[in-house]
C-alpha cells in the first residue's frame, strides 16, 4: 500500500495570485476566549478598560489552552456570553477600536535559549494550529523526547481544501519565515529531519521552496499528489513518511510532529518581533463574493459581516469558516474571524441534493482514506448496534467528508459517522 484512498476535487484556487493585503481596520472586534482546542480562557480585562494591540486579554491555568490577545487598540465595551459557530458558549470581549493601533508596551522580543524557553515563548504568543484544528502549538512542541522521540517534522502545506490559498500565499510571500521557523523548531526540539509537504497543484511554491532550501540538508521538499484529504494529519504522515499512526496513538508515537506551514512561520515571526497572534492571513472567496476576492491580513475578532460587505457578498446563502469539505457553517455573520480560520467562503446556494436510498455501490468504502465502511456504519447506527460500531472503528473517522461527497444517493454519511461516534459510551 503506497497511497491512501481519497477523492479528486475541483481546486477552485481562484485567489492563488492575490497577494495578501491588509484588511481595513474594523470599527469594533469581538474576541472569543475559546479559539483553540482545549479549555477556554478567562477574560482578564473588564468593561471600560483600555487595551492596546498585542495586550493579553484572556488566559487560564489549564494545561490545554492558549492565551488570547487584543488585535486592536481601543476600549472594551462589553464582555458577553458568545455562541460560537461550533455550538459552544464562551466569554468574548467586544472592543471598540480607536484607530490608532497603539502597540502594547509590554511587548518584548522573547529570549530563546532552549526547548523550554521556546515552549514558554510560543505559549505566550497565543499560537495555535493555523490549519484549522486550533491545537495549542506549545503543547505540540512540549513532547517527551525520551518516551516519544521525534525524528521528523512534517510541515503541512498540502492545502487540499478547494478555494483556500492562504497557506499558498504564506509559501510565496513568507518562505524565509517558514524556513527560519523550521530551523528554530528543529534546533531547540532536536528534530533532525523536516519534510515540507506541498501538493503538486502548487508548482511555483514547490520550486521556490526547493530553491530556498537547496543548501539546507535537514529540510526536504516533498511533492504530494493533489488528492483530498492529503492534508489530514494521518494522511500526510503516511504520504510523507509511510508511517501509520495507529488507533489511539499520537503522531509523536510514530516519531512525527505535524505542523501547519503558517504556524511554523508564525513561531519565527514571534521570536523576531514579540507580537502575539493578533492577525492572520485568510482567503475570502466563494461564488457569492462579487468583488475583492483575495487574501487578507485580518485582525482576529473582525466580524465576518465586515468581510462580506467589503467583498460584496451580502447575498450569500451559506457562509463557511474554512473550506467546502470540512468548513463549519456560520449561523450568523456577526461571528468573528478566529485564530484557526484560514478562509471565509460565501456561497449563493445552501442546499445539497435530496437524499435517496443507499444502493450499496461501495463508493464510500473506496474513497475513505482510513478504509472505513460508512455504508455498514450507517446500518449499525440505525440499528443502534454499539458493538458493531466499535468493530467498524467509527471512532477513527476524521470527518473528512469523502464518503458524503462521493455518495450517489447523497446520504450524509460523514454526519452519521459523527453521530455514531457520540453513540459509543465513553469510558
Amino acid at each position: 500500500m503506497s497511497k491512501l484512498n481519497g477523492i479528486k476535487l475541483h481546486h477552485n484556487k481562484n485567489t492563488r495570485d492575490c497577494e495578501t493585503a491588509d484588511f481595513p481596520l474594523p470599527r469594533s472586534v469581538v474576541i472569543p476566549m475559546s479559539q483553540h482546542m482545549g479549555a477556554p480562557c478567562k477574560c482578564i480585562v473588564k468593561k471600560g478598560d483600555t487595551v492596546a494591540v498585542g495586550q493579553k486579554i484572556g488566559d487560564t491555568d489549564a494545561f490545554m489552552s492558549a492565551p488570547v490577545h487584543s488585535s486592536v487598540s481601543g476600549t472594551v465595551t462589553d464582555i458577553e456570553q458568545f455562541l460560537l459557530a461550533n455550538g459552544a458558549v464562551c466569554e468574548a470581549a467586544v472592543i471598540e477600536t480607536d484607530g490608532l493601533q497603539t502597540v502594547c508596551p509590554d511587548i518584548t522580543v522573547p529570549e530563546i535559549t532552549d526547548k523550554q524557553s521556546l515552549i514558554a515563548a510560543v505559549r505566550e504568543s497565543g499560537l495555535t494550529g493555523l490549519g484549522g484544528a486550533g491545537f495549542p502549538t506549545h503543547i505540540k512542541l512540549n513532547f517527551d523526547a525520551v518516551k516519544t522521540p521525534i525524528d521528523t517534522l512534517v510541515i503541512n502545506a498540502a492545502e487540499c481544501e478547494p478555494y483556500i490559498t492562504s497557506d499558498y500565499r504564506e509559501l510565496m510571500e513568507s518562505s524565509s519565515d517558514i524556513i527560519e521557523g523550521i530551523l528554530l523548531v528543529q534546533k531547540y526540539c532536536g528534530i533532525p529531519l523536516c519534510k515540507v509537504c506541498i501538493e503538486d497543484n502548487k508548482p511555483d511554491a514547490i520550486k521556490l521552496m526547493q530553491q530556498k532550501t537547496a543548501d539546507i540538508k535537514s529540510i526536504d521538499i516533498v511533492t504530494l499528489p493533489s488528492s483530498y484529504p492529503q492534508g489530514a494529519e494521518k494522511v500526510i504522515i503516511f504520504s510523507a513518511t509511510n508511517r501509520i499512526v495507529a488507533e489511539g496513538e499520537l503522531p509523536a508515537n510514530q516519531g512525527v510532529m505535524v505542523m501547519n506551514v503558517s504556524t511554523v512561520a508564525s513561531i519565527y515571526r514571534y521570536t523576531q518581533n514579540g507580537m502575539p497572534l493578533v492577525e492572520r492571513r485568510i482567503t475570502i472567496d466563494g461564488n457569492a463574493v462579487t468583488k475583492n476576492a483575495g487574501n487578507y491580513f485580518v485582525p482576529i475578532g473582525t466580524r465576518v459581516s465586515e468581510l462580506l460587505a467589503y467583498c460584496g457578498a451580502e447575498g450569500a446563502k451559506k457562509v463557511l469558516y474554512g473550506g467546502p469539505m470540512m468548513g463549519i457553517c456560520l449561523y450568523d455573520t456577526d461571528q468573528p474571524v478566529v485564530k484557526n480560520n484560514n478562509a471565509i467562503l460565501a456561497f449563493k446556494e445552501g442546499k445539497l441534493p435530496e437524499t435517496t436510498a443507499c444502493i450499496r455501490c461501495g463508493r464510500c468504502v473506496r474513497t475513505c482514506p482510513l478504509n472505513l465502511m460508512p455504508v455498514l456504519i450507517e446500518s449499525a447506527y440505525n440499528a443502534e448496534d454499539i458493538e458493531d460500531l466499535k468493530r467498524l472503528k467509527v471512532t477513527l473517522c476524521m470527518n473528512c467528508g469523502c464518503c458524503s461527497y462521493a455518495c450517489p444517493a447523497h446520504r450524509p454519511l460523514a454526519e452519521i459517522n459523527q453521530l455514531a461516534k457520540a453513540m459509543i459510551p465513553r469510558k
Binding site: 476535487l9 494521518k234 503516511f238 501509520i244 499512526v245 495507529a246 488507533e247 489511539g248 459581516s305 451580502e314 450569500a316 446563502k317 451559506k318 467546502p324 469539505m325 470540512m326 468548513g327 463549519i328 457553517c329 456560520l330 449561523y331 450568523d332 456561497f347 445552501g350 442546499k351 445539497l352 441534493p353 435517496t356 436510498a357 444502493i359 450499496r360 455501490c361 461501495g362 463508493r363 468504502v365 482514506p369 482510513l370 478504509n371 465502511m373 455504508v375 455498514l376 446500518s379 449499525a380 448496534d385 458493538e387 468493530r391 467498524l392 472503528k393 477513527l396 467528508g401 458524503s404 461527497y405 462521493a406 455518495c407 450517489p408 444517493a409 447523497h410 450524509p412 460523514a414 454526519e415
Partner: protein, 328 residues
C-alpha cells in the same frame, strides 16, 4: 446577517447520482440489445420494450400502493426491465414479459424494500422463475435473421445445448463445435435476445469498467475462474473460449454479477463472489442437467453475499485488532 443555511460538512457533493449510474448501465447495454434486435427482429425489440414498460409500471404502482416516495425516476426499473428482456428468447409469448417483470419488481425488489434492499438480482430471479415455470415457452430458440425467412421460423439449438460433432480423421478423434468462434463472438447463434453478441457485451462491460461504474474484479474473477476450470477439465482451448462466449456468461459476468445491491462491497469480496460464480457455472454446465448455469450461480452467490461481506471487511488504517464478526 441572519437566515443563513446551516448544515454539517461537507458542503460539496459529487455529481454522481443513482439515476446517472443507471443511465450509464442502460447505455452500456444498448449495443448488446441492439445486436439482439438485429439478429432476432422486431419481435425481440417488442419483448424488450414490454419488459421495460412493465417494470416501470410495476415499480410506480408498488410505490403508490406502499405509500412510499416515488423511485421510478432513478431508472433502476429500466435497467431491470432491459436485463430481463435480454435474458428471454425473442419468441416468448407476450404474457412472459409481464409475469417476469412482476416477479422481478414486485416480488424480488419492492417486497424487500425497493432499490438497494433486494437480496437477489431481480432480473436473474425472474429469469429463473420463468425458466422453471414456463420451460417450453422459454426454450423457443430461433436462428438469427429468422424473421426475414418466408417459411416458418426455423428452430435452432443454443451454443450450449447443441452437440459437438465427433469425427475421426487419419485415426485421430476430433470434435467440431456447432458454431464457429467467429459466429460466437459476433452473436450469430441461437439464444436469448441480449446474450449472444459477445463483442457488444464486452464493449458494454469495458465501458462500465472505464467509467468506474463497476469494478473489473467480479467479471475477471468470474470469467477467469470459469475459463481456468474448463481448460483444466476439457484440456481444449477452443472449448474454453467457446464456453466463455456461449450462453449467459458474459452478460452475467459484466452486468448481473456486478449489481451493487446483491454483490459484496469490497474488492476481495467481489473476487470471492466472481470465483464462486465461475465455479458454480462450471459445475452446472459440465455435470448438471441444465445446459446453462450462469443464472443459478449468480443467484446462489447473491445469497452468500452478506456472509462474504462479513468476511471481507476492510481493515481500517491503524486499527488495533482485525475487525471480525458482526453484522454485515
Amino acid at each position: 446577517m441572519k437566515g443563513l443555511f446551516v448544515s454539517p460538512s461537507p458542503h460539496r457533493s459529487s455529481n454522481a447520482s443513482t439515476a446517472r449510474i443507471m443511465l450509464m448501465v442502460i447505455i452500456s447495454l444498448v449495443p448488446a440489445a441492439a445486436a439482439g434486435c438485429v439478429f432476432f427482429g422486431p419481435r425481440a425489440a417488442l419483448v424488450l420494450a414490454m419488459c421495460i414498460a412493465c417494470c416501470i409500471i410495476f415499480e410506480a404502482l408498488c410505490r403508490i400502493v406502499m405509500k412510499r416516495e416515488q423511485t421510478v425516476g432513478d431508472l433502476s426499473a429500466v435497467v431491470t426491465g432491459l436485463l430481463l428482456g435480454m435474458n428471454l428468447p425473442a419468441t416468448v409469448p407476450f404474457y412472459i414479459p409481464v409475469i417476469g417483470s412482476f416477479v422481478a419488481i414486485v416480488v424480488i425488489k419492492q417486497l424487500f424494500g425497493g432499490i438497494g434492499q433486494n437480496f437477489a438480482n431481480p432480473a436473474i430471479a425472474a429469469r429463473i422463475v420463468l425458466m422453471l415455470s414456463f420451460t417450453g415457452q422459454m426454450s423457443g430458440w430461433v436462428k438469427p435473421y429468422w424473421y426475414t425467412s418466408v417459411v416458418d421460423a426455423e428452430t435452432s439449438a443454443t451454443p450450449l445445448a447443441a452437440s459437438w460433432l465427433n469425427y475421426t480423421e487419419n485415426g485421430a478423434a476430433y470434435k467440431m463445435a456447432p458454431f464457429t468462434l467467429s459466429e460466437m463472438f459476433f452473436g450469430e447463434t441461437g439464444g436469448c435476445i441480449g446474450e449472444t453478441c459477445a463483442a457488444a457485451l464486452i464493449v458494454g462491460g469495458l465501458f462500465l469498467i472505464f467509467t468506474k461504474i463497476i469494478s473489473p474484479a467480479t467479471p475477471l474473477a468470474f470469467i477467469g475462474s470459469f475459463a481456468l476450470l474448463t481448460l483444466l477439465y476439457t484440456g481444449s482451448a477452443v472449448e474454453t473460449v467457446y464456453g466463455v462466449l456461449a450462453g449467459g456468461l458474459l452478460i452475467g459476468a459484466f452486468f448481473m454479477a456486478t449489481d451493487y445491491a446483491t454483490t459484496p462491497l469490497t474488492m476481495w469480496g467481489k473476487i470471492i463472489f466472481g470465483i464462486g460464480c465461475g465455479l458454480i457455472t462450471f459445475i452446472i454446465r459440465s455435470f448438471g442437467s441444465y445446459p446453462e448455469g450462469v443464472s443459478f450461480s449468480i443467484l446462489l452467490m447473491n445469497l452468500l453475499t452478506p456472509y462474504i461481506d462479513r468476511l471481507t471487511k476492510t481493515l481500517p488504517l491503524g486499527a488495533k485488532k482485525p475487525v471480525k464478526g458482526g453484522n454485515a
